[in-house]
Subunit: 174 residues, 2 copies
């Protein structure tokens, strides 16, 4: 897939690369500084993309903005207010973005949504906030059954607070 749309993923993770306890939980452990950064950042996007689980845990907030929800449970596009439910295996999502004039797309997870954009070479920027915790288990940042080596270029490192939350900005490098 080729595109002139800009796709930026936002991830908040533990030191050991976990983004949630399980598919039904939010990142309630994320710092307020990350939350503020994140809210400010996504306000500049035309639309956000989330998976069905992420949508369910943040429905109230996501309903208020242009949101695309990836789900395998439907076969045809379904639109409710500002929320579009799409099965990315059945629809051409680039057409959808183009038809709506979306130029700046924020990808908010979870793992399978991040992985979908990465595997389809549609991830331009990747912001990773690392909170100073180790969880030892939980939902991994990306999901896959084959080992890849996607290259990224580090653009900047920023300390967000005294506890040691750091924000890494990467550009896709392949």
């Amino acid at each position: 897939m080729k595109s002139k749309i800009n796709f930026t993923a936002y991830v908040v993770a533990s030191i050991d690369g976990r983004i949630a306890k399980d598919s039904k939980s939010t990142a309630s452990w994320a710092s307020i500084e990350d939350w503020n950064f994140f809210q400010n950042a996504i306000s500049k996007f035309d639309v956000v993309v989330v998976g069905h689980n992420t949508y369910k845990v943040s429905e109230k907030r996501l309903k208020k903005r242009n949101t695309i929800v990836f789900t395998s449970k439907i076969s045809k596009l379904k639109i409710v207010g500002s929320v579009a439910f799409i099965n990315p295996e059945k629809e051409n999502i680039l057409n959808f973005f183009n038809n709506h004039g979306y130029k700046k797309v924020a990808i908010l997870g979870g793992s399978s949504v991040y992985s979908f954009f990465l595997k389809n070479k549609l991830l331009n920027n990747l912001f990773v906030t690392i909170e100073p915790y180790v969880f030892t288990t939980g939902v991994p940042m990306f999901s896959g059954n084959k080992f890849y080596k996607y290259n990224f270029l580090l653009q900047s490192v920023k300390k967000l607070n005294k506890n040691g939350t750091i924000l890494l900005k990467y550009k896709y490098g392949n």
Copy 2:
């Protein structure tokens, strides 16, 4: 377990927290800058601890130094040259360190060895090198079947090279 011994773990991982493709592979993708940092760092330790898989892929180098190999395959301590094979479920490892006068212990992985020290509250320092890759799958940094929230304090962030390899130094914070 309480101890006056200093335990420091060294981890090299992808952005998504993977430390290897599988249990039989080395971190051949790690940067030369990380390798140099790591070799210099561990030269200052009395002994290093590795799991059986890690030992097998690095046996040649590890044989030359004081090495403890964790393995579940033996029930009694076995010593071959400078290498001690220990089943941490059967031996009191703190006694072993104390009996040998080991004050500075470097923990080199893999996941289950890092997790053993963390769960037993024996991890004082954690160095994590993040190489600018996403693997999507592979061996996770820590392993566990229960979700914990171990606190760490970030001590420093260092860029190791132009590609964007970064080195994070944490202190255990619980």
